[in-house]
Subunit: 497 residues, 2 copies
Amino acid sequence: MAAKAREVKLIESCAAVLGWDQETMMPEGGVELRSAQLSHLARLSHQAFTSTEMGDLIAAAKSECAALPEEHPDRVDVREIERDWNKATKLPEALVSELAELSSKAMHAWAVARKASDFSQFKPWLERTVQLNRQKAECLGWEKGGEPWDALSDHYEPGLNAADVQRVFEPLRTRLQGLLDRLKGAPRKPSNAFNEHALAIADQERFVRFAAKRIGFDFSRGRLDRSTHPFCGGSHCNDVRMTTRYMETCVLDALGSTMHECGHGMYEQGLDATRIGLPMGEAAGLSVHESQSRLWENQVGRSRPFWTWAQTQLPAFFGDACDGFGLQDLVDGANVVEPGFIRVEADEGTYNMHVMIRFQLERAMIKGDLKVADLPGVWNGLYKDYLGLTVPDDRRGCLQDVHWSMGAIGYFPTYTLGTLLAAQLFEKARTDLPGLEEGFARGDFAPLLTWLRTNVHAHGRRYRLDGLCRKVTGQPLSADPLMRHLEGKLLPLYGLS
Amino acid sequence: MAAKAREVKLIESCAAVLGWDQETMMPEGGVELRSAQLSHLARLSHQAFTSTEMGDLIAAAKSECAALPEEHPDRVDVREIERDWNKATKLPEALVSELAELSSKAMHAWAVARKASDFSQFKPWLERTVQLNRQKAECLGWEKGGEPWDALSDHYEPGLNAADVQRVFEPLRTRLQGLLDRLKGAPRKPSNAFNEHALAIADQERFVRFAAKRIGFDFSRGRLDRSTHPFCGGSHCNDVRMTTRYMETCVLDALGSTMHECGHGMYEQGLDATRIGLPMGEAAGLSVHESQSRLWENQVGRSRPFWTWAQTQLPAFFGDACDGFGLQDLVDGANVVEPGFIRVEADEGTYNMHVMIRFQLERAMIKGDLKVADLPGVWNGLYKDYLGLTVPDDRRGCLQDVHWSMGAIGYFPTYTLGTLLAAQLFEKARTDLPGLEEGFARGDFAPLLTWLRTNVHAHGRRYRLDGLCRKVTGQPLSADPLMRHLEGKLLPLYGLS
C-alpha cells in the first residue's frame, strides 16, 4: 500500500513544483498549457488513487497492522490513507474535473473583477463555485446534526465543523473587541515611524534571507523567491519553496512575510524525510500549519527579545540607514494596531476579525442562507460591525481574497485556529525551555525549533488539531493563551498597564 | 490520435519543466526525489504512449489521411507518431524508468565528480549508463550492417548511423587539420586582448539579455537563467527556458553561449503553436536544432557586421570600460583560434575536433571496444592526437560534458552536423536576402529570423536532416560551406590571404 500511495503523491509533488513555477518563474506565454498540465496531473493522480487496487491494498494493510498500537506510524499511515481514499472515491471524476476547470477559470475572472473592483463580473463564477461545492459537500456527506460546510472544511482541517468553530469564535470576538476598544482610547500610541521608513529592497532581501537562515530555514533543502502573494509550496521536506515580497516601506512587511512563510517552511522541513509521500511525513492540517507560521511571525518576530537581537544586525545590511531608530521604535513598529480593510495587511490585534467575517459569510453561502448576489452588502455590513470601517469598494472588500475563486471554502477558520494554537504552543515552550526568550535576544532560535520539531513536526498526521494541542499542552485548544499574549504585549505598549 | 498523442506530450512537458528546474532552481536536497519524479513521469508517458489504444488510433488515423499529400501536416504527424510508437513499444517500461532515474542520479554524481576532478567517482555511474544504453540499443535494433550506436543516435537524429558519420568526419578532420596547421604558422595573430578584459558580471548580464532580445528571443514566451552548463529546455514553444553562464573574462563567453542558446530557443519559439505536442510542432532533430544555435553563434555572432553594430552598444552597458577596444579587436577576440581542452569554450576552428573525439569514444564504449575504466587514458590520447594537447586532469578531460551522465549517447555528432548545416543554410540565406549582413551592421536581424522561420522552423518534423538541407539549399549536406566560411574568415584574419 505504501509504495502505491507514495506513487500517487509523487505525481502530486510534480504538480507542486509546477504550481510554484507558475507563480515565480513561468513566462506569461506558459499560462495556457500550464493549466492543462496541472489538470492532467490531477486527473492522473486521482485515477491512480481511487483505483480498486488501492482499496484492496488499504484493506490488506489494515489487517496487517491491526495488532500495532494505535499511534504506531504504520497504523497512522493506514488510517489516514484509508480516510483520504474514502473521501476521494466519493467524488465522481466528472465533478472533480469540473471543479478543477471551474477553479482555473474563476480565478482568472476573479483577478479581472478585482482589478476592475467590480463584483458583478465575479458573481456568476462565485455562484457556480458555491453550487458545485454544495454538490461536493453532498457527495462527501457530514455528521448528523452538522451542515454542508463541515464536509468542505474537513479537507483543510480534518474533523472540523462549523458549530465548533462558532463556539470558539464567538467569545474570541467579544474579548478581541474589548481589547481593541481599550487600545482605541489608550494614553500612548506606538510609533509608526519605522513602518514609514524606506530601505533599499536589495538590502532588505539580504537581511530577510539572513534572518530566515538564522531562525532555522535550511537553504540546502529549500528556496526563498519573490511573488505577488507570499506562499510556501514545494514538493516535499527536502525541497521547500517559499516566497516573499518587498516594499520600499517597510522592511517589516518583507520580514513578517518571510518569518511567516519560514514557519510553514520549517514545518515542512521538519517532517520525517523517510516518510515522504505518506501521512506520517505530512503536515497535520492547515490549522497546525498556520500555528507554525504565526508562531514565528508573531510570538517570535514581533517580540522585544527578537528585536533586541535584530537591531544589532541592521547595520550590517542597511549601513547607517536605520541609525535613527531605537529598540522601542522597532518594537512599536512591529506592533501598531490599526483596523484596516485588507486581511493580509492586518496587525495581530485585528487579524482574526477578518477571518471571522469570512467564516460567517462562507458558512451562510454554502448553507443557502446568503445569496451570492447579496455578498458585497453583507460583507460591508460586517466590516462596519466588526471593525467600524466603511468599505470603499469591492477591491478592498469582498474581492480581496483569492480563496473562494479557487473553490477553497472551509479554509479561512484555520487561520485563526492556527493563531490560537501558536499562542498555546508558545506558552508551553516557554515553560519547557527556561531562558527561551533571553536566547532570542542573543539570536539563538535553535531551542524553539528543536522543541517544535519534537512536539509538532515529528508527529506528521498522527494527531488532529485538538488532539495535538492536548498532547503537547495538556489542555484543549483555547483562546486564553492568545488573549494573554496580546494583552500582555499590547496593553503596556499602549500605556495601559 | 492527435488528442491522445498530445496528452502524452503533456506529461513529457511537465518533466521538461522539472528537468529545467533541477539545473537552475532546485535546492540540493531535492535531488533524490526529483529522480523519482522524473522516472515516474517517464513511466506514465511511456505507458500512455505504448498502449494498444494508441496503436489502434494510429492505424485509424493512418488510413484516414492516406489520400493526403505526403507532406501534408496531418500525414506528417501520423508518420512521425507511428515512428515514435514503433520505437517506444520496443522498450520495456522497466528499462525506460530505470534509465530516467539513473540519468537524474548520474547527473548529480557527475557534477560532484567533476568538481572533485575525480573520474573514479563517476565511473560506476557511467558503466551503468553504458550498460543500460547497450540494452536499450538491443531492444530498438539497428539496420543490417550497422552497429548498436545507430540505434541510440536515431533518437537524436532520425536515421543517423555511425558509418555515415564516419564518412563525413574523416575528410572533415583532414581539412580542418590542414587549416589549423596553416594558422599555426601564420604571419598575423588576431589580438586576444578583448578575451582577457574583465567586465562586471552584472553589466554582462544586462548586455547579453539585450542582445538576446535584439536578435529575436521573445522573453514573454521564455526565460534566460544561469546554470553551470548552458542549455535550452522548457516545455513548449510558448515557454522556452534557456540558460547561460558568466565569467569575469570575458563577455564573449556569455555572449556566445547566449546567442547559441538563443538559436535553439528561437527555433523552439518558431514552431507552430497550434501543433504543440504534435510532430509538426516539434523540432526536426538535434542536428537541425544545432544548425540554428551555431548559425546565430558563429555566422552572426562572430561576424564583422555583427560587431560593427555591437560595438556601438557597449557603452550603454559597460560605460567606458571597453573604450580601449576598436572594431578589429572585437572581431579578433571573437575569432582567435587556439586549441584548448574544453569543448564548450572552443573556437570555431577547433570545435569540431572535440566532437569527433567524443563520437569515436562513445561509439567504442557502446560497441564494447572501450572499457569505461579506460576512458580517461584514451580520451587524453585522442586530445594529444587531434589537438596536440596534454590533458591535465579529468575535470578538463573526460568529465567536462554532461551528456553521457544524462544517458545521451549518440548525441555528440549532431553538433558537427548542425555546424555544417548552419554554414550551408547561411550561404543560402545570404543569396536569398541581399543586404543581409549590412542589416546586421545596423542591428537588424529580423530578416534572417523570418527566413529561418519560413524555411526551417515552420516545417516541424516534416523533413529529416538531409531532406531539409536539400529542400532549402538544393544540395545534400556538405562540409564545403563550412570550410568556405572558416577559410574565408580566418585566413585573412591570420594574414594568409
